[in-house]
């Protein structure tokens, strides 16, 4: 068993047919009899006291069934993954334009929106806090009573000052990164229903149905068992649906009205109210010896988390962890601040703090290599951590380390190997070409000190197929296909015999989030645990039915047979036959499996989640062409070289890789949610610019496998890393082309042009 028949194969997505036929519904497609439309009254100011809320006019309107305010929140009026500091409905203060002040349920969508406008809220505006560094000053107005510094982390190892003193090269720069938007296809949306016993079901885009269930239950003051959360695989998330979005609003309105309620945020509302990537200002000072050995890194990160905590603290922690990247860095002084402002909301987003610091670090690395006259790839190889090395945070790299393998593959890829030749052939005299490289490691799982577990169920269905339940939601990334492949190989059946159940708090066991590059690793290990138990059950049933000893039962394709039996004899049972036997005996053939994440040999006191033990690795290379007259940058080609440990589904990894490259390219060149004085200036896709298919470069994905022994079939997570180093690979390529260093992304045409002008 465990032969790789399905693992490693380019299996078509198991949900492909449902998606292309439209059978899989978006939340906006859901409809129930007697359903109401919900709408959310958002704040009128980025920062204000609420003096009075009068809902009487709205309540009197035709078609309005309920109007709720903070007075109608039965339980805790707050939510938040780490600290519940975000009000469900604001009572006395609003802290950003997306703050929810009231909810309406009405018989029509238009009626609900009209009712919002009939709610009178009296505000007393407060000064707006919109600069994170100013926000850190004692004299600054406070977004929260405890002060604006939500989280502070400081890590120091070795003798940084001595290292800088003795170094041959020291580079020091300040980097700025934008407020990237997840830009998922469907906005935060869902439907809640309630039955006659008061059980509530919430359908929504979710990255952790069990935590949503808990947060809903807490706000409603209800037993979580009475609440079911079902996540949809349509619509996407990228971290933007990790925190509660509309779930509590839906549940409150369903509870109050006793009817199904649907909320679909408009894109504008989503942009204003929803999560973003933390804009960061990063000061980085990096030193190396004359022979190219990296000596020290001093980092100061200030992250703008906006109005509420959500996962801002952990994001800044991970920024600190990833700020020394793949390198041996014996002396470090790393400091991070996570700061409240009135600038929207920032939290989880694919990459989780690494995107910002890896952009800074990989630029520093190129600068140092250039100063020392060293090849940029060789410089990285020389300094890269190997298995057994001590990483910047002081923990030992005991798990598989793929940097060297990905760099080796990069050195052979066409755009790197032929870079001088490709550089010399720009498409016009005023255009310049460059090739850039960058690499990173990316922590998988939640890290030290956080509960990080997996669970799976396997049930033999009457027809001989297996239902495999893993709660980590499918949110478009393809994890259910990978789960089905791993289950098929663990059970000796085909992928077509697996029915996946995912993202449902009632029909699966809690297996944690679909975040943190963790779901394939976690779910896969839990499936293997469940499969081992399932096989024992199957062997028991078969042994009894065949009158053989249990040790005599061997697993083959699609069933079991008695080992000693000569070929052709009828001492074989298919899974369908075993199912029938089980049914006849009234036996429910079901197994549960579990898994606990291994963690690093030492944690960091006070900073939970740090460090990680298992990392995925990736090197990415970009070929760009810069128009020196207009500053426009075109990414012509990109090569993405991930180390997923083991590629469960190479086609799935390629798809992740290609999507990641384009997302990281948007981050490098175009994307920024502009907020001025607390007001979002780019509230729609006409002003928030993401790359289109025509902007995407030709992307080649080269999968390098450094199997991770603790992973299922050797796998580890790759969902985040794929969007990270491409950003500095592109900005380093701009430097290679023009001599200009990009320290402020996105590198828009204006910024590049102005930098070129300054450089000239």
């Amino acid at each position: 068993m465990d032969e790789s028949r399905w693992v490693g194969a380019r299996v078509a997505r198991i949900d492909a047919e449902d998606k292309v036929t439209g059978r899989l519904k978006f939340m906006s497609d859901l409809s129930f009899p007697d359903m109401l439309w919900g709408a959310v009254l958002r704040s009128a100011y980025p920062h204000a006291l609420i003096k009075k809320i009068d809902t009487s006019k709205a309540e009197a309107m035709d078609g309005v069934v309920a109007v709720l305010t903070h007075r109608d929140v039965p339980g805790l009026n707050g939510f938040g993954i780490v600290v519940p500091d975000q009000p469900v409905l604001c009572a006395d203060k609003v802290r950003y334009m997306g703050d929810a002040v009231a909810l309406v349920a009405a018989t029509t969508k238009e009626g609900a929106r009209e009712a919002l406008q009939a709610i009178d809220v009296e505000y007393e505006p407060l000064p707006v806090v919109d600069d994170p560094e100013e926000a850190m000053l004692e004299s600054s107005p406070r977004v929260h009573a405890d002060g604006n510094i939500h989280h502070h982390i400081k890590v120091e190892r070795g003798d940084v000052d001595a290292a800088f003193r003795d170094a041959a090269v020291v580079v020091e720069n300040t980097y700025y990164t934008p407020r990237q938007m997840h830009a998922f296809m469907e906005t935060e949306s869902g439907v809640a229903t309630i039955d006659e016993d008061g059980n509530i079901t919430v359908w929504c885009g979710s990255q952790h149905p069990f935590r949503d269930q808990l947060q809903i239950a807490r706000a409603l003051g209800m037993n979580p068992r009475k609440i079911q959360v079902v996540s949809t695989p349509a619509g996407g998330a990228f971290g933007g649906k990790d925190e509660i979005t509309v779930q509590i609003y839906l549940a409150l309105l369903a509870l109050r009205t006793g009817r199904p309620v649907k909320i679909v945020l408009s894109r504008e509302e989503s942009v204003v109210a929803g999560m973003k990537r933390h804009p960061m200002k990063i000061r980085m000072k990096t030193a190396a010896a004359a022979d190219g050995t990296l000596l020290a890194n001093e980092v100061r990160v200030v992250g703008d988390t906006g109005a509420y905590a959500s996962l801002g603290g952990p994001v800044v922690n991970l920024a600190i962890e990833h700020s020394c990247g793949v390198y041996r860095m014996p002396n470090v002084r790393l400091e991070g601040f996570c700061v409240y402002t009135n600038n929207g909301l920032a939290g989880a987003f694919r990459g989780f703090g690494a995107n910002q610091v890896v952009f800074a670090l990989e630029t520093q690395i190129d600068m140092i290599a250039e100063r020392l006259g060293m090849d940029k790839l060789e410089f990285r190889r020389k300094n890269a951590l190997r298995q057994g090395d001590v990483a910047a945070l002081g923990h030992t790299m005991t798990a598989s380390v793929g940097t060297i393998a990905t760099l080796d593959a990069a050195s052979r890829c066409e755009i790197w190997a032929r870079r001088e030749e490709l550089k010399a052939m720009p498409s016009a005299p005023h255009k310049k070409r460059g090739i850039g490289i960058a690499t990173e490691l990316h922590g998988c799982g939640l890290g030290v000190g956080l509960p990080d577990y997996g669970a799976a169920t396997i049930e033999l269905l009457p027809g001989g197929r297996f239902a495999v339940g893993v709660s980590c939601p499918e949110i478009g990334q393809g994890n259910t296909t990978a789960f089905a492949q791993m289950a098929a190989d663990s059970l000796g059946c085909s992928v077509g015999d697996i029915v996946m159940v995912s993202g449902d708090s009632r029909h699966t066991l809690d297996s944690g989030t679909s975040t943190a590059s963790r779901s394939v690793y976690t779910g896969g290990n839990a499936i293997r645990s469940a499969a081992a138990r399932m096989r024992e059950i199957l062997a028991d049933v078969a042994a009894e039915a065949l009158g053989a000893a249990r040790e005599e039962i061997a697993f083959g394709r699609g069933g079991v047979e008695v080992r000693s039996c000569p070929a052709g004899a009828a001492r074989r049972l298919s899974y369908r036959e075993i199912a029938r036997i089980g049914e006849g005996k009234g036996r429910h053939l079901k197994a549960e499996g579990d898994f606990i994440w291994p963690v690093a040999d030492r944690g960091l006191e006070g900073y939970f989640g740090l460090p990680h033990l298992i990392y995925s690795y990736i090197t990415q290379v970009a070929l760009v062409e810069v128009d020196t007259l207009t500053g426009e940058v075109e990414v012509l080609r990109a090569v993405s070289i991930p180390d997923p440990g083991r590629a469960i589904n190479p086609a799935g990894i390629e798809a992740q890789s290609e999507g990641g490259v384009v997302m990281g390219m948007g981050y490098a060149l175009m994307e920024d949610t502009v907020i001025e004085h607390g007001i979002t200036k780019t509230p729609n896709f006409s002003t928030y610019i993401i790359p289109t298919a025509l902007d995407a470069p030709e992307i080649e994905t080269i999968i390098v496998e450094e199997p991770e022994p603790s992973g299922p079939f050797g796998a580890k997570g790759i969902g985040e890393a794929v969007c990270v180093p491409i950003t500095p690979a592109i900005t380093n390529a701009i430097h290679d082309a023009t001599g200009v260093w990009i320290t402020h992304i996105p590198a828009t045409a204006e910024r590049v042009y102005m930098a070129l002008k300054e450089h000239a």
Partner: protein
């Protein structure tokens, strides 16, 4: 309270449309492809502003669609979509830069809905087709039930999103002289990305030369950077009568940029726009001269 939805009328004839539009002057708005009108309605609804009370759908009025040619004049009906224009063999031969401009509009979906008439009458300073129409010396035909008047494309506009059309007037068609085979032309656009990009800057150029290579006629119109669409005659004059060399092209391109600054004043964006306009104008001129400097 959000404004109620506008009423929707679908006149069968110009007279009917014109009568209705005149009667409801301030309260009615023509809808063609809807790619601008619907977005504006939605935005206005959100901002709590007033909707027009009536939308007048002109798609059933006869004679408003299609490209035709007659003794060297190319006519395009107001309801002709960007997609039809971009694909039209007549346009690709007699006004290829207009085909390029239409092909650069939005996305396939927008090009399949959006019309040339709508692009003109919406009067956005960033409209992709207007600079191209300007250098083709396009005339537009405005009709109402009383009659018809033909005016130059550049006289349509009186300000951003404002036209000189009178209540009751409907843009029927646009027409221009097909470019002679000796003419070169180009449309160059600078957007924030390769598709679905509103032009930040654009430039349309037509150049005709004699057998000696001397420029006999030049038309240059920058787009998206002037308060109102216009040709820059002072730049055109720098090319006429010359066999264009690098110095002449550079000078004309610089003049376009200077003219932009003269008309808009110096703004925060000028540091970038001045050189960028110069660069794309230079590129458009060279392309019109048959030299591809992409």
């Amino acid at each position: 309270m959000s404004p109620r939805k506008p009423g929707y009328v679908v006149p069968e004839t110009l007279a009917e449309a014109s009568e209705f539009l005149r009667e409801h002057a301030e309260d009615a708005r023509i809808i063609a492809g809807g790619t601008d009108v619907l977005v504006q309605l939605r935005r206005r609804g959100r901002a709590g502003g007033e909707h027009p009370r009536w939308l007048v759908d002109i798609s059933r009025i006869p004679g408003l669609a299609g490209v035709s040619t007659d003794s060297g004049t190319i006519s395009i009906g107001a309801m002709t979509t960007h997609e039809e224009i971009a694909r039209s063999p007549i346009i690709r031969k007699g006004g290829p830069l207009l085909a390029e401009a239409c092909a650069s509009v939005g996305s396939p979906q927008i090009r399949a809905r959006g019309t040339i008439g709508g692009n003109i009458m919406n009067a956005s300073p960033a409209a992709d087709t207007i600079a191209a129409l300007a250098v083709l010396s396009t005339r537009v035909r405005l009709s109402d039930r009383m009659g018809t008047r033909d005016i130059l494309i550049t006289d349509v506009f009186v300000g951003p999103y404002k036209t000189s059309a009178q209540p009751g007037e409907v843009l029927m068609e646009v027409y221009f002289d097909a470019l002679a085979p000796t003419c070169g032309s180009a449309f160059v656009k600078l957007g924030r990305r390769e598709a679905l990009a509103i032009a930040r800057l654009s430039c349309a150029v037509v150049i005709e030369r004699d057998d000696a290579g001397r420029v006999t006629r030049a038309a240059i119109a920058p787009g998206a950077c002037l308060p109102m669409p216009a040709r820059v005659e002072s730049a055109e004059e720098m090319l006429v009568g010359k066999v264009p060399d690098e110095a002449a092209v550079d000078a004309a391109a610089r003049e376009v940029a200077e003219e932009m600054v003269r008309r808009t004043g110096v703004r925060w964006s000028t540091d970038y726009k001045r050189p960028a306009v110069e660069a794309i104008t230079r590129r458009a001129i060279w392309r019109a001269l048959g030299v591809n400097v992409e």
